[in-house]
Amino acid sequence: MTYEPIWGSIIAWYLFLAGLGGGAFVTSVFIRFRHPECKKLIRVGHIIAPVVVIIGLCLLMADAFAGFMHPLRFALLLTNFGSVMTWGVVFLAVFVVVTLIVLIMDFMHKESPKWLDIVGMVMGICVAVYTGCLLGVCQGFPLWNNALLPVLFLVSAVSTGMAAVLLAGVFVAPDEFNTVVSLKKFHFWLPVVEIALVMALLFITAANPSQAGWDSVMTIICGNWAIAFWVLFIALGLVIPIVLEYWMLWFAGHEMETSRTGQMISGFSDLGVLVGGFVLRLLIVSAALPITIVQPWIF
């Protein structure tokens, strides 16, 4: 039997958007802590966080066709607390409510209480980690069934969240974009960590006792997904952003870094991070092969 992936690109979009939203809220809290004067960037984070998560959830509900036709069944999602998906629903619900309250307070020019920011940040992290655990508990897929995936998804989520806020900042708040140096320096390290995590994930998956682990990795690095992996994820999503940001933050002079050209270069690297973040989810969802199709008991 040839294997057709169970989940498709809609789920990849959802995993990407959920992580992005969580990361964007973490970013807004980070900016409020380190650069409280950058009100516009904080607001950008406040807007992105609930909006992208809600878009992701709409995609998810449309993809769950049986529930889409019978929406009352979505209430049943809270019945099995042994399921990662049920926990995800709880995290997402609290996250969306908190981020919407924070957003409304922001528009009313009221300071949101610190504790609410912290609750939102913790929920954002929980959402990002849950997207990895969701796949991680599926024992039939060596590419998913390991403890690295939730960590990788968390780092990627925070990275894409920061990239989204910075990219929007280039256009709506160029002055503040130049101010948030500590955010940029923190953001620089995330793709570096991601490279290490992705390498570890691929090495360990390839060494899985099942042939499916090796085959999944080969599909990614030299099979059907190789171009997406090397060009869109590794080059555009990780290496180019690392090189460009390293240049901007430590090599280019202050004048270059804060010029419109410098901002556009940073913006391009942020766009690359976003593309890479989506391609990572797409690769992980699509390239995972199940142990039973190639398991020795059949072949």
Binding site: A66, R73, L76, L77, M85, V89, I291, T292, W297
Partner: protein, 180 residues
């Protein structure tokens, strides 16, 4: 003692005719593209002395069912007498159970979007009612259905006599036993 239903499939008797699959489709009123029984074929030997083993796979009704532990709505759950059930009225179609099932034997109903799978409908024949189950349809009697907890059942005896085992060792605590 509780009843704990299980099945034996003797692949040394299976001729790969798909009778069980089509009977199941009729018995359970499935869509033309929906089958609860999936066939895998294993080729052995070198030409010209080759042989092909047909292995019909279906829901193993695992006692530690991974589908039931991940299902967020409780649609996939352990029902009475050890039969894993897929409640069509609770399923939202998230397909999480299909990802969690290590045997890839759960199928999505393309009309309703809900996930379904082998219902162990052979249990209906226990009282003598004739029906169109995989067990009755098999022309070579490769299948035996019965109570695993009853040491005197035809099933329990056959498992011991023919040295039958779950298809993938202890991957899960499966209740379908294979003779290979």
């Amino acid at each position: 003692m509780m009843t704990r239903y299980g099945m034996l499939i003797d692949t040394t008797k299976c001729i790969g005719c798909y009778s069980c699959r089509t009977a199941c489709q009729r018995q359970n009123d499935l869509l033309p593209d929906e089958g609860f029984i999936r066939y895998e074929h294993k080729e052995t030997g070198t030409y010209p002395t080759v042989s092909v083993e047909s292995v019909p796979l279906q829901c193993m009704h695992c006692e530690d069912a991974p589908c039931a532990s991940v299902c967020p709505t409780g649609a996939a759950h352990m029902g009475a007498d050890g039969i894993v059930e897929a409640d069509q009225g609770r399923c939202i179609g998230c397909l999480y159970c299909m990802s969690a099932c290590p045997y890839q034997v759960r199928v999505r109903n393309s009309k309703t979007g809900a996930v379904d799978k082998c219902r162990f409908c052979a249990v209906q024949t226990e009282n003598g009612t004739t029906s169109c189950t995989c067990v009755e349809a098999c022309p070579t009697h490769a299948r035996i259905f019965g109570d695993l907890d009853d040491p005197n059942s035809e099933l329990s005896k056959a498992i011991v006599e023919r040295d039958a085992h779950p298809i993938a060792g202890d991957l899960t605590r499966a209740k379908i036993y294979y003779v290979r």
